[in-house]
């Protein structure tokens, strides 16, 4: 019994070794290529490891070199201090409210418009779609001054979360993306549904909307990432710390800690990044596919 299992383990490890050996490069050019990939991987990962390990260092050692890459005696006090210095929970909640409202809003407006441009016929459709495409060329900074005037003087909602939500509810990119998805779905479904007595709204809501879900997921994940990480728009609209999203909070925290421990700031960065990491873990396929297709956001 024991012998067979030992043999089996030994065999398994040799096949594993064999496979590794076969995967190893044979020509010097291939070794060089692997070396290049590793060097860049180390350079991209190094700052990330540094952030996490330094956030766990004793406050007094936070800025001393050499850095401690693997934290030996971990100190979580930095994480506690984040909550004392800035209204961390309110700022994270603000980021969540803004991001989720914008994602939901864009899904609704863009799926309706994308469906209309793909499947419904109405006079002026081509001109209006061309107009939507043209707005994709306009960068946010070119419109921020009038939008600020409109938000603050026209609507009087600056320094509220509405100021960060309302202007972002419609998206030319989202319409373009979802139109592509609706175009790929065959039209036969519609005729079948009509024979079964479905009305136009039901055809959209119960047949085409669910079938476009990969596109909806791409839009959701891309928008989540872009909105959660937005710094410029909140900087223009927000003044009250309790209403800041977390990106402003982190820079604020850096200001407080100018003479203190940077470990606290890095702890804040680690905490504020957790939501996007979770989104990445569950939606990486959609995120990567979306970035490949669009590339306008981010």
């Amino acid at each position: 019994m024991t012998t067979t299992s030992t043999i089996r383990t030994a065999m398994r490890s040799t096949t594993w070794l064999n496979r590794l050996f076969r995967a190893l490069p044979r020509r010097p050019g291939e070794w060089l290529r692997l070396l290049f990939l590793f060097v860049i991987a180390i350079l991209t990962l190094m700052p990330l490891v540094w952030v996490v390990s330094t956030s766990l260092r004793q406050p007094i050692e936070s800025f001393s070199v050499p850095p401690e890459w693997i934290p030996v005696d971990m100190d979580f006090s930095n994480y506690n201090e984040v909550f004392e210095r800035i209204p961390f929970w309110s700022q994270m909640t603000n980021s969540f409210i803004i991001t989720i409202a914008v994602v939901a809003g864009q899904i609704v407006t863009a799926s309706l418009a994308g469906y209309a441009f793909a499947r419904l016929r109405f006079p002026g459709r081509n001109f209006l779609f061309w107009l939507v495409l043209a707005t994709m060329m306009i960068p946010g900074q070119a419109t921020i001054i009038p939008v600020f005037i409109l938000i603050s003087r026209g609507l009087g909602i600056n320094d509220t979360l509405w100021a960060l939500i309302i202007p972002s509810l419609s998206t030319a990119f989202g319409i373009f993306l979802l139109r592509q998805y609706f175009l790929q779905i065959p039209g036969d479904f519609e005729e079948a549904a009509m024979i079964d007595g479905a009305n136009q709204w039901q055809i959209f809501r119960q047949i085409y909307f669910p079938l476009a879900s990969p596109g909806l997921a791409i839009l959701a994940v891309l928008t989540f990432n872009a909105k959660w990480n937005d710094y410029f728009t909140p900087l223009v609209f927000m003044n009250t710390k309790d209403r800041f999203p977390i990106t402003l909070g982190i820079v604020d925290l850096k200001g407080y800690m100018a003479t203190g421990s940077i470990s606290v700031v890095l702890a804040g960065i680690v905490l504020s990044t957790i939501p996007v990491i979770i989104i990445y873990i569950f939606g990486q396929r959609y995120l990567i596919e979306g970035l490949m297709m669009g590339g306008i956001k981010g």
Partner: protein, 315 residues
């Protein structure tokens, strides 16, 4: 009384939209089309197209909120073209764009070509994830982090360079170096994005043509230069245009890392626009700067597409 008056009218509308005729269905769908695009079109008109026209209009006015706007004709533009700070900001932005985009495109393309040829799947997954992770972070978080790492006396980067015998570099306070620090920071954050685009392009290369090239004896550098790169040229154009447009709007990293300093050495166009509009409340002048930047973005994109006719190969 009132309802009786409305009744026949309502009936007529229902008949007009009746679902049992082809005409009725057509009308229903057209009406639904307008209803469906209405939220989006209103949003885009109010928050993008309208403001774009307003930016154009505002750039001919002098306005600081406290006094009513005053029409000044081309004064904002003549001020802009004679303002040495505007010149500096545009120069800095162009330098940043060139440095950043050249580094991004070369490294990302090399990475994509190398990762694609890896035989081991776990290894390829490890590399793809490593390069992509920084894309998830906000510009703010990256600027704060790299700002600490670039610190002259306590920064990790100077410490390791010191071990190699390189004297301390004032990454953020030397006006000759600061653009490099900001650019490297941005390369670090965006490399994964450009890499993913190139990897997509490389993975969809037609294998028959590559094999045919090998049969014809094209290997290594020769194969890269005369077969792979021409086939990839649409991807290269797309990635370069997107990166240039993104980098022309440089803001988060220099704003947080250096506040545009030392002096104006790392001030970008968007920073200058932000400071004029929201710091000095010079909305008219700020709009003029924004408009010139927009024109530059359109111009650069147009030039690239015009030039692309010479070198982009669509099969």
């Amino acid at each position: 009384m009132v309802s009786q008056a409305i009744q026949p009218k309502r009936n007529r509308i229902i008949q007009w939209l009746a679902a049992d005729t082809m005409e009725g269905i057509r009308r229903q769908r057209a009406l639904l089309g307008y209803l469906f695009i209405a939220p989006s079109i209103i949003g885009l008109l109010v928050f993008i197209i309208g403001p774009m026209i307003a930016t154009f209009g505002l750039s001919f006015y002098k306005w600081n909120v406290f006094r009513p706007p005053e029409f000044v004709n081309f004064e904002n533009f003549s001020r802009l073209f004679s303002d040495p700070r505007v010149f500096t900001a545009f120069r800095n932005t162009f330098l940043l764009v060139v440095m950043t985009v050249v580094m991004l495109e070369i490294i990302a393309l090399a990475l994509a070509l190398s990762v694609h040829r890896l035989a081991s799947r776990p290894l390829s997954y490890f590399f793809r994830t490593s390069y992509f992770l920084p894309v998830l972070l906000s510009g703010a978080a990256v600027a704060v982090t790299l700002g600490y790492m670039f610190h002259r006396d306590f920064g990790v980067i100077n410490y390791y360079l010191g071990l190699l015998g390189i004297p301390k570099i004032s990454w953020l306070t030397d006006s000759n170096v600061v653009l490099w620090s900001v650019s490297l920071t941005t390369v670090w954050r965006n490399l994964g994005f450009t890499f993913i685009i190139y990897l997509g392009g490389v993975s969809s290369l037609p294998t028959e043509i590559l094999e045919a090239a090998q049969v014809d004896g094209a290997y290594g550098w020769r194969r890269l230069k005369s077969v792979v790169l021409p086939l990839l040229s649409p991807t290269i154009l797309f990635a370069t245009v997107t990166d240039i447009i993104k980098m022309l709007q440089f803001f988060d990293e220099p704003f947080i890392m250096t506040r545009g300093g030392p002096g104006d050495a790392s001030r970008t166009v968007v920073m200058l626009m932000y400071e004029n509009a929201f710091g000095n409340l010079a909305f008219g002048y700020g709009s003029a700067i924004a408009l010139v930047l927009f024109a530059v973005i359109l111009l650069v994109t147009g030039i690239q597409f015009a030039l692309s006719r010479r070198w982009v190969f669509y099969s």
